[in-house]
Symmetry: C3
Subunit: 393 residues, 3 copies
Amino acid sequence: MMKKKILIGGMIIILTLLAAVQIWAEPAAANPAIDGLRQVQQYNFSINILAMLLIGFGFLMVFAKKYGYGATTGTFLVIGIGLPLYLFLRSTGILSAAAIPADTIKGLLFAEFGVAAALIAMGAILGRVKLYQYLIIAVLVIPVYMINEWLVIDGGLGITKGFVDTAGSVSIHAFGAYFGLGLAFALTRKQDRAKAVGNDPVSNRFSLIGSMILWLFWPSFCSALVGPDQFQVTVINTILALCGATLSTYLLSRIFGKGKVNIGDIANASLAGGVAIGATCNVVSPPVAFVIGIAAGALCVFGYAKIQGKLQNIFKFVDTCGVHNLHGMPGILGGIIAVFVVPGIVVPQLVGILFTVVLALVSGVGIGFVVRLTGNKKDAYEDGSEFENAASE
Amino acid sequence: MMKKKILIGGMIIILTLLAAVQIWAEPAAANPAIDGLRQVQQYNFSINILAMLLIGFGFLMVFAKKYGYGATTGTFLVIGIGLPLYLFLRSTGILSAAAIPADTIKGLLFAEFGVAAALIAMGAILGRVKLYQYLIIAVLVIPVYMINEWLVIDGGLGITKGFVDTAGSVSIHAFGAYFGLGLAFALTRKQDRAKAVGNDPVSNRFSLIGSMILWLFWPSFCSALVGPDQFQVTVINTILALCGATLSTYLLSRIFGKGKVNIGDIANASLAGGVAIGATCNVVSPPVAFVIGIAAGALCVFGYAKIQGKLQNIFKFVDTCGVHNLHGMPGILGGIIAVFVVPGIVVPQLVGILFTVVLALVSGVGIGFVVRLTGNKKDAYEDGSEFENAASE
Amino acid sequence: MMKKKILIGGMIIILTLLAAVQIWAEPAAANPAIDGLRQVQQYNFSINILAMLLIGFGFLMVFAKKYGYGATTGTFLVIGIGLPLYLFLRSTGILSAAAIPADTIKGLLFAEFGVAAALIAMGAILGRVKLYQYLIIAVLVIPVYMINEWLVIDGGLGITKGFVDTAGSVSIHAFGAYFGLGLAFALTRKQDRAKAVGNDPVSNRFSLIGSMILWLFWPSFCSALVGPDQFQVTVINTILALCGATLSTYLLSRIFGKGKVNIGDIANASLAGGVAIGATCNVVSPPVAFVIGIAAGALCVFGYAKIQGKLQNIFKFVDTCGVHNLHGMPGILGGIIAVFVVPGIVVPQLVGILFTVVLALVSGVGIGFVVRLTGNKKDAYEDGSEFENAASE
């Protein structure tokens, strides 16, 4: 009798445990229904980011008043070649820590991050290369981006274990910006430096649409790859950083403009909070995120007002969209802030930042000289040289 | 033998019940995986609404042809200060029925509703205050909005128990509109009344982008906080109300225009269905929603054509965007319709509407006079006075 | 003793099976929580598609420089009448294989597909009918679309069992295009053929916003009704087809333009990959999808450059937006490719395509002549004849 009772009692315990395991196993996605739901949610992030790439970056660059066709077509081309190239290369496993199948949403998300870096680089040389050269640049920058991703983020270098860069302040934004500066150094001619880009109320209103698309979908950029337990705080941090940057942008733009605001500052520097919060978006507290955003917006406006001109004079190049102000400096700021927020990462973090910037700059200059061999655009910032019926009045 | 069989039989029943409980417990979110999925879904609503706030309200106001920079920058500023302020105040619990932590999507959704009211109010005074005064107004209206939310929606008054306003026809739209009218009353100068706002085919096409963003994401505005069992009907009701308003807008605009349509009516009044369905979006049937939309669109066009001018002459103010037509009257219409749809709410509903309108108007006038002390904009509807290189030809 | 052990052993097996069934039953949605999550996900697809309909199709047509008000208002009207009409008709079950309740997201998705076809048809006659005639056309095309959907897709004809058209290359895009060509044949007057549509840098930049909205949300159009196991590959295939079309569009536009690119090609033909992949988006492999996109983009540019003019001269009509190039030919291409990809569907596929094209053309011509009886637009492509203060300088 006793033995039976023990047997039955034991069975109840085992079955109850089995039932419990079933419930608790689900968060770990033993449940295929939940897996399917997660994939669709990741898809939604990927489409939000695609909106940032296509309309966001695309139209932000339409501020160049006679170059709206070129800016949007160039964006289409960089995305059109960049996404398939990353998906293909990553699926083979070469240039990467691990292969990701091409037919997965995860692969798409990683590809979009790579293309973001390419589009940022494009902003530095916008309007000074021919359309097909955007294709050449995209084809050459994606592999370099992947090597940096592998060596710094995925630890290929060996000494960046612990590197903190959740949403790519360093590996996407700073990489793209410094690669673009390298390109610009190699590709800027004397006559380009003499010519103003030019913007007007129509082109700036188009640019603001791009800016707003970037602003509002930025939380998806930051939280796409973050775990469920950090999801909410990542979203709020990103929004607060953007809010902070928007406020400091207005204030500083008004100060530097002696009472008048520069609409280009509003369109661009309001986004610097998103750039800078990227590295630590899932680890800081909301008030800290707000302060990071304020600092990034201020740094960006300061860059446009006081740094860009000097750099351009010293190094004889033109950074058409000022990507150094929006993606370069705020990206590095975000990466450095991580040192103060996450303990024990001083060495890997600084090595990671330095390696990324140097690799981006050097490969940018090198690829820029390669691109130079493939042709010269006659008139900078003019659609008329490459499009039918483009008004170049 | 008998005892054993009973024991074993009982065990089977218990275990089967346990298994059943497991399944049925999940809708109540015992399952952390499902909780996580729900958070991401709420996040998607919040981003849709953010698109409405930033591009929707922002660009709808770009119809003002020489004030596109101001309209978009003002929108950026109201959002940039409004979201953090609401999140902070609400997290403390003051001015509210219950505290909501700042680092939650739920908090973000509530904050967005508050900012929507602030942006609606901004539409009434658009172009007649300096940029920093949009900040001042946002800082002052958010607490008043929260007090109204607490007293009317969350029952703080005691006599509004049963008040029906699911998606804020009254507490968001009518509140924002009447607060804005109060501001406009205090802030309109004689020279502002003499000056036309002005719009042109470019500014109106930009405005239509804002309008369409509002239209298409409106179902997210209405269904963000609705339970799963009412979700589908809420979505369909919102879309049908918008469709109805779009159709009646065309018809009435053509009649009032003697055969010609006013594009401002199309951009604005097509949205009145969304405003009016807000109160009862989850309780009416689809055909009723369609009729509510038709009525709201008609009321809104009638407002633009026949009411606004008279009101402005009587009370000596200017309602730049006509928020009274789009958010004021259709919001109240939606609130009153609830009386006929939901039994037994006559008193709380009418008290809630009246309290909201009076609080909004009175505080709007008061805050308007405070804002007047902080400076005067020289030229209404001109970007040139506050932005560098803004064409004011 | 032996009997007991068997009894207990059997019980353990039964209970374990029960527990397993519970887990595996969930994908089949025994779980109401998961059902609710799925509905919200379907809703997200439906809103993405609504963005395509309203801003996508709407603004793509704003390329017509003096007809931006008409293009957007017409889009509003077609959606405003088309969605409620489809929802109502489909809920009754007439004209369909099976009734779908009006208050469901599923009904909304099907209604959106029908409205997409109506908007495509509208593109063929854009600017040559009065605003209210867009309403008449929408009311008449939706029932024809539903009949085709029933007979071809849902097998009402009896001989199209096996017809492959997952995301409507044939039943939405080709149907809409050939219906539109039928309308255009009946509605084009001599003076319309003599008048150029006209576009300029402002109208084209607006058009590019529509184009980008269509491009980036196209994966939602293709995957909205696809099962979870095919979801990821459908998304990637759609994106790769769009990328391929974008690249071939640039190349061919440059060749046909003798070194200069036509921005209208970029805005339109980049989307042809999405049209053509529709039929087989969930069954081909990613590299094949990329190739289909390349072919579709090339075919579309070829259509704009070499086919449209000849067809218009032979049949004496005007296809304002060139919907034959973007939706007609790429749609049929997509339908025919399915024959080579899915074995054993030659007869049903070809019958389905032929039936769709003939029904669309014939009913388009017939309805076009009916619409002609309801009035004539004085000046083609001019907002001034129907809108107040529309610049027709």
